[in-house]
């Protein structure tokens, strides 16, 4: 079967719009050193984690019992754990899990919350039902809910992501709904109704874009929270399967041996703290530059 390439008429404004947005984002970064710092640290973390297999480090799972619980040395910069596995390699690889979980939870929770919040904000009937359900969901401590879900479904990275997403959704729904309620009575929405625009179209075209600034900021906090909770869950044994190195798993294993080699807990702990700090710093900076009072367009 052969396809004849179809010349699609390109929207000339689309590329212009994208480069404009990119320029706007760069401008915002330059004016906001906090955000730039947070973002840089995150980029370094991501390069370290996802580039780890390319650095010529020992396999994170390769055991070498003769060299176990060693102090840092030229061969093993962070030392080795109780099976003689290279800690540096394990900690860097562990970053992959944390970043993937953090980003996935943030993306899933915001998109689900956005969809539900938009509908709840615009339809009174849906609102009453959905919000009571969200209230109920919020009344359960999120970490307990996540533990319960993982123990129900078994431990895998996917299940951890789902379990951490569910408790975050109600918070996003509340945020989106409050913005929608505020926008619903704005004149430009009334104008859209008066000129015959259908409700779904109004939601997507007029309401949704205006929920993005607070939503993006909220997403960074959810991401930071998810990174911590993934470590919690792994630490208590209800998270990432133990054969995968994640920061929580490494610390959980190391807690028996921390008199012999404190590094097993310290290094993943430091990486965890730096990552969360960087995400939060980035989020704070983002909030400042998206603040409507500063009249910055993103």
């Amino acid at each position: 079967m052969t396809h004849t390439p179809v010349e699609r008429p390109q929207d000339p404004t689309l590329t212009a719009r994208m480069s404009e947005a990119a320029a706007g984002a760069w401008d915002a970064l330059r004016r906001n050193p906090t955000m730039l710092f947070g973002l840089s640290v995150l980029v370094v973390m991501a390069v370290l984690a996802f580039g780890a297999p390319l650095f010529g480090l020992p396999e994170p799972m390769r055991q070498n019992p003769i060299n176990r619980l060693q102090d840092p040395s030229a061969a093993h910069w962070f030392g080795t754990d109780m099976y003689g596995r290279d800690l540096l390699s394990r900690v860097l690889h562990g970053g992959q899990i944390s970043l993937v979980v953090g980003l996935s939870v943030a993306a899933l929770a915001t998109s689900l919350g956005l969809a539900i919040g938009l509908v709840a904000g615009f339809s009174r009937r849906v609102d009453a039902v959905v919000m009571r359900f969200m209230d109920a969901l919020m009344s359960i401590p999120s970490i307990l809910l996540a533990i319960a879900l993982v123990s129900l479904w078994g431990s895998s990275v996917t299940n951890v992501i789902i379990a951490l997403t569910i408790p975050e959704v109600p918070r996003v729904v509340r945020l989106v709904r409050s913005v929608v309620l505020m926008l619903r009575d704005q004149t430009f929405v009334q104008a859209a109704i008066a000129c015959g625009t259908s409700t779904p179209r109004i939601l997507v075209r007029h309401i949704m874009p205006n929920t993005f600034p607070p939503l993006i900021v909220q997403a960074t906090y959810i991401c930071a929270q998810a990174v911590i909770f993934e470590a919690y869950l792994s630490f208590v044994g209800a998270g990432t399967p133990p054969e995968i190195p994640s920061w929580g798993n490494i610390m959980a294993e190391g807690r028996m041996f921390f008199f012999q080699n404190f590094g097993i807990i310290m290094y993943p702990g430091i990486f965890l703290a730096i990552t969360v700090f960087a995400i939060n710093t980035f989020g704070d900076g983002l909030r400042d530059s998206l603040d409507p009072r500063m009249k910055r367009r993103f």
Binding site: T187, F188, Q190, A192, A194, C195, G196, T199, P209
Partner: protein, 322 residues
């Protein structure tokens, strides 16, 4: 004149007030309280009154942006009072709106060509992008905006230009009636005149009917054929422009006309200055709503609401004394 294009009969809009522990209804704001009028093809009916007298709510109810409590609205003979959002769709094409605030009525995140094209996209979804763009460009020419501004965002325009954008959007689908809710109140006086003149030119060109809501008598006098005066949710007088200014029948209209400054320091007039404030629309006075401030009020005014009746040909007033 032929059959009226818009007929409003006994239009009422009450906003319930909830309070107390169980959010029971504790009162109602009588925003619009039985307003009736007709609008002929090619006519401008000015609706004036103080803030809070229900003139904007009347406009919103006619546009079905808020559901009327009771009454009938007929657009080209069709009763649209109880139509759902979906059922309203074909009728909205006939009746468009221009809002007061040209800043809030345009979505800040959209390009102006997309804002003006929105009604076109709704009512002519089959037209090509290029066709629509050409139509919008022509509209821009017509309302006095430059074609090279098509790709800009609303914040790059001045107040008067934004109101022209609002007018272009309203005109995009060739409506027959335009509800103009204080379209020039937010503009500078010099710009007001330009926008009002543009609206009058457009009316002549497209045979538009305007319901022109305003609180500024001078503007209304300039553009309207007939003027309705509202007080506390009710229409107290409705007359052709000249007749209303020359021979006001309702004491409130009289006071309103007297409050217009006259640029002649030597001219002394006996002035009917109103005392007191407008009563709350939550608890409007019994009988005639104006009885608390009326210099002529007598017994009957406190018991019986005067109906709007014809006191002279084409001149309606709601007062027991006429």
């Amino acid at each position: 004149m032929s059959a009226p294009i818009l007929e409003v009969e006994n239009l009422t809009k009450h906003f319930p007030l909830h309070g107390g522990l169980l959010q029971r209804e504790v009162g109602r704001v009588h925003a619009v309280d039985g307003v009736s009028f007709t609008l002929a093809r090619g006519e401008t009916l000015g609706l004036v009154g103080e803030s809070g007298c229900g003139k904007s709510t009347t406009g919103k109810a006619i546009l079905k942006l808020t559901d009327p409590t009771s009454g009938t609205i007929r657009l080209k003979g069709v009763d649209i009072t109880h139509l759902s959002r979906a059922q309203m769709f074909p009728h909205r094409r006939v009746m468009q709106v221009i809002f007061q605030d040209p800043y809030a009525s345009l979505n800040q995140r959209m390009r102006v060509k997309d804002i003006v094209a929105e009604p076109l996209g709704n009512y002519e979804p089959d037209s090509s992008r290029a066709e629509r763009l050409e139509k919008i460009a022509a509209l821009f020419d017509r309302v006095g905006l430059r074609r090279d501004a098509l790709n800009r965002f609303p914040h790059e325009f001045s107040g008067g230009q934004r109101q022209r954008l609002g007018i272009a959007r309203a005109l995009a689908v060739n409506p027959e009636v335009i509800i103009a809710d204080e379209p020039v109140s937010a503009l500078d006086v010099s710009v007001q005149a330009q926008v009002v003149n543009l609206m009058m030119d457009l009316q002549a060109e497209f045979e538009l009917s305007y319901l022109f809501i305003a609180h500024d008598l001078a503007v209304v006098q300039h553009i309207s054929h007939r003027i309705g005066v509202m007080y506390l949710g009710r229409l107290v007088e409705l007359a052709p422009k000249r007749e209303l200014f020359r021979n006001p029948q309702h004491p409130y209209t009289e006071a309103l006309l007297d409050s217009v400054p006259v640029p002649d320091p030597r001219r002394r007039r006996k002035r009917a200055v109103l005392r007191g404030d407008v009563p709350s629309p939550i608890n409007p006075p019994k009988g005639c709503h104006f009885n608390t401030r009326c210099p002529l009020a007598f017994d009957r005014c406190f018991h019986e609401a005067p109906p709007l009746r014809e006191v002279a040909p084409g001149h309606m007033a709601a007062c027991h004394l006429r």
